[in-house]
Amino acid sequence: MARILAPGTQAPDFTLNVTPDQKLSLHELQGKPIILAFYPADWSPVCGDQMALYNEILPEFQKYEAELLGISVDGAWCHAAFAKDRHLHFPLLADFEPKGAVAKKYGAYRKEDGFAERALFVIDRNGKIFWSYCSPVAVNPGADGILQALEDLTLQRNNNERVESSSFVK
C-alpha cells in the first residue's frame, strides 16, 4: 500500500477537469472543510459502491459545511456518464493527464495497477490535512471515519474560538 500524506501536511493544490469543459482547483474551495476521496475506478460492479454511498450521505457531510470531491484516473467523459447513471450530486475530478499526477502528490497512487488507492483526506479550512486514511483497495472504507474527522474538526474549531475570545477578554 502506498504511504499517503499524513495529518498536519499542507494539502497539495491541484487543478483538474470536473466536467469535460470545466476545471476546479482545490484552493477555490478554501474556507470550507474538504473531503477528498480517491478511488480506483468508476463503474465498480456493486450496489453499495463507495461513491453511491457518499452520495446518500451527502446531507450529513453538508451539516459540517464540507465539500466532497471524488477523484479517480478516469476521464471527464467517463465521470460524466458514471455520475449521470448513479445520480451523483457531487463533483468527480479526472486525474487523467498526466495520469494519476494528483494521486501521486498525495501518496495515493498504485503504480503497479495504474489507479488510485481508496484514500480519504479531510482538509481543514486553511488547506491543511486534518485526517487521512488508506483502506485496502478491495474494502470500501465507508464514511464513519470521515464523519468522525469532521466532528473532531468542528470541536477543535469551537475550542480555538473559545480560547481566542477568552484571551481577548483579558
Partner: protein, 181 residues
Amino acid sequence: MSVLKVPVSSNDHIQGDEHALVTLVEYGDYECPHCGRAYHIVKALQKHYGPQLRFVFRNFPLTQIHPLAEPAAEAAEFAGTHKRFWEMHDGIYENQDRLSVRILSEMAERLGLTAERLRDALADHEFEPRIRKDFQGGVRSGVNGTPTFFINDVRHDGLYEFKDLVSAIDARMLQLKPDVA
C-alpha cells in the same frame, strides 16, 4: 474494526430469542439484488441455528440508485406499526423482481391493512424519520454498502454466502461458549 454504534433495542425489528447467543444485524435495502440474495441466506441461517440466533433488520436504502428502496422501507415500517413488519419484509424480498408501489399496496391489503392508509403514509413520508435514523446509525457504525452484517456488534467484513456467515457465527459462539460448539 467497525462496531455497531446503536445497540439493539426494543425499537428494532427483531426475530428470535432475546437470550440467543448470537445476534445478527443486517443493514439492508429492499431493492438491492445482493440483499435479495442475502434474504434467503438469512432464512437458512435461522433454520440452521434455531433459538441460538437472533436476527435484526435495519434500513439502509440507497435511494439515488434504487427509487423503490425508500417506499418499500416505508411500507415495511407502516406494516410494523400494525405488528406485521416481518410479513411485509419477507413479502417485499419474495417479490423483489417485480417490486412496485402497486405491489406494496397489494401486499398491505393481503395483510389486512388499509391500502389507502399506506398510500397516505407514503405520500406524507410518515416513516422517513425512522428510516433516516437507521441509516445514520448505520453510517456511524461503518456500514459501507448493502447488505452489511454485524455479528454481536462487530461488522462482518467477509463474504456473506451461507458457509461464510456460518463460519463467522460459529467462531463467535466458540468464543462465548467453548463447550457448545
